[in-house]
Symmetry: C2
Subunit: 424 residues, 2 copies
């Protein structure tokens, strides 16, 4: 098989006429035809309509994403494709419109390839997708299909969302770049809500540069685009208060990453998070459960029996949270957010595990978002940087995290880390 | 006509069996039948289905809102009624589900009476509704129908939303209590977005106590319920940086309110807002335009010609805002939010105008949200306290504002202010 080009390569070649949108779409569809039976990344895909749209793009699209195929997590509305939110309740749902992020991608010329599998409402009940590196392992969740499709070379770019760890974890398990922006950076209109103060739209791509490019276009922020900046970011090696959850594989990978970064001449220091931050992990769970219970009030009333058991449990947990406990959790988060700059000091980013280790074996669970919950609660930009592998040869990413609003710095640092890990 | 009871009265009487849900619904429908031709508050109302639902409530509903009729702003999804968002684009839209706030109301036994008129997507293009106190004047917007229906005694409770001033302004113009909670207090799932970091669900009722009761049930926060607390809140009389926009009518009303509150023995002090807050007004406009442009990307692409001229203008303005200007506006807001407690000091609430004066004459505009923009940006709870009138005999409210998260204090203070204004 011919590998599909990176998004940046494809954009250059489409712009200079050496690649057509149709040929790129065909390359994606060929790869999908070959691999989808094993990977099962797609919830909805109509090859004929894709090719028709690609030819239309060749004739009339313009914009920096012209003809670039994008996979859309099926938690995100599309006006011309079904949208199930991974739920039996919405099996036949057809939204009236695109979500804003999808419209912004189309506005820039992108080709919406199809819908990728999500877990049920982006919670823990897995869909059908398998890890392309090992079909017996989970791709992670909830952006399972987007991560698997990008990892398998089926599509150069994909949308994902994160409420706990649904961008960074599947990116780590599948070995792709995953960028969860600062809270609110990409508009959420038309994205199925789960927990209003946590839900964040993110992107997945083969490389950090591609993810940054995609996000820079979507947000109209050219400075998010990352070139080959010759920077050596100041990095805080941060074991976090959840280090106990890191398997030996994840611990070894972080040590290996530190070794390679030091060898490349990076300034790397150990950073301990404040004791007062120890409660943030539980605070995220409290906020998520409380908000989820209210968000799902309509489905709980109309179709309680068609909600998965894990989600029903969380809803029940959420109703049991006292409003005062919720308020305390939000206050703790607000305090930590405003103290974030002090914790980093003169460091550019923190480097932490992305996930507890390699993708777990089995398809009945999607792994643990333990290393992302806190950063999502704080609205901090974070990136899964791929490049290393664990003892079983499976991908294991490391996570770069920065101050809320400091997305450019995190992307630049992540790209530099990726190059250093690759020995470039 | 027999006036419908307040929500609290009706709840008591339904609980003790002296009023049936059906009789209450009939009283609302009778009033609507009589007055709707003049007021035009309703976008959708099906009396037969309402009575059927009321009888069902009598038989099987339980909960603190049992049988209480609620008007739902037509910006908010209902699974059993059309939902137009006040837009030609969505004229035939039927959502699959209720919004979360509607489901929460039903869960507590409420009777969803019908959909009330909103301006186009809750922006400035008016609907058909007239001010019940003077059919030649606007009811205000964007929660036009909800405010008019409550003011006219058609329904005891209604949902509203606020992005700039759409709860407080129509409440002031129509002479009802309007409560815009702290940002995020009532779940927004299923409410048509306009600007993600501003949109807030609020409530309207005849009295502050009714509004507080409704919100306390919706949020599961019993402490928001306001009884006849014998408190004399410490009040900061605050002319704000937008005082120049207050007409003589509004200025006189604030002075009259201050006179009555002092006469009732309240501690009232003049408070000047920090100079650094002067930019917050423009910051709100910047954030609203920027986010609106992105939120409406789908409609802008699919149906630009079916968007009203004022909204198209705002979208264009939003695209012209540089991301750095947006970031600066958000930073200024975050700074002011964290300094809010210091500005209030030992005061319980600020008292400011709700709107520039009486409802303007004419129906081609809905008035100016000038006195609400800043509080919405800061996510601060605010209440329109009705009770006074202007030189033309039209209602003019005053606005109580408190610290973000301090909703109980604002509601208790607002109820006390209302009693003092009424000379009680």
């Amino acid at each position: 098989m011919t590998r599909i080009p990176t998004a940046l390569d494809a954009a250059r070649r489409i712009a200079d006429g050496s690649l057509t949108c149709e040929a790129l779409a065909r390359a994606c569809l060929d790869r999908i035809a070959e691999r989808e039976p094993a990977v099962q990344a797609w919830q909805h895909l109509d090859p004929d309509r894709v090719l028709e749209a690609a030819r239309l793009n060749d004739r009339s699209a313009s914009g920096p994403l012209k003809g670039l195929p994008v996979g859309v997590k099926d938690l995100i509305d599309t006006g011309d494709m079904p949208t199930t939110y991974g739920s039996a309740i919405y099996a036949n749902h057809r939204p009236a419109r695109d979500a804003a992020c999808v419209a912004l991608a189309r506005r820039a010329g992108a080709l919406i390839l199809g819908k990728t599998v999500t877990t049920e409402f982006a919670y823990f009940q897995p869909g059908k997708t398998r890890n392309p590196h090992d079909p017996g392992r989970t791709p992670g969740g909830s952006s399972s299909g987007s991560a698997a499709a990008v990892a398998d070379g089926m599509v150069p770019l994909a949308f994902a969302t994160q409420t706990a760890g649904s961008v960074v974890r599947p990116a780590s398990f599948c070995g792709v770049a995953g960028y969860k922006p600062s809270f609110g950076l990409i508009d959420r209109t038309g994205v199925r809500p789960f927990a209003d103060s946590l839900d964040t739209v993110g992107v997945l791509a083969a490389t950090v540069e591609d993810a940054a490019f995609f996000a820079s276009v979507l947000t109209g922020r050219p400075n998010l685009r990352v070139a080959d900046e010759a920077v050596r970011p100041r990095i805080g090696l941060c074991r976090t208060h959840e280090w106990h959850a890191a398997t030996p594989a994840a611990q070894t990978v972080i040590e290996e990453a530190a070794r390679r970064l030091r060898a490349a001449g990076f300034d790397l220091r150990e950073v301990a998070l404040p004791e007062g931050w120890r409660g943030l992990f539980e605070a995220q769970k409290t906020v998520m459960a409380y908000e989820c219970a209210r968000t799902f009030a309509p489905e709980t009333q109309a179709n309680p029996d068609r909600l998965g058991a894990r989600l029903r449990d969380l809803i029940e947990t959420g109703w049991a949270v006292a409003p005062e406990a919720y308020d305390d959790a939000k206050s703790l988060a607000a305090e930590a957010r405003s103290g974030f700059a002090d914790v980093l000091g003169d460091l550019d980013v923190l480097l932490t595990p992305s996930a507890p280790g390699e993708a777990p074996e089995g398809l009945d669970a999607t792994g643990d978002p333990v290393f992302s919950r806190v950063w999502t609660l704080l609205g901090a930009p974070s990136v899964n940087v791929p490049g290393l592998t664990g003892p079983s040869g499976q991908p294991v990413g490391v996570q770069a995290v920065g101050r809320p609003g400091d997305d450019r710095r995190v992307l630049v640092a992540s790209a530099a880390v990726a190059r250093a890990l690759a020995g470039a």
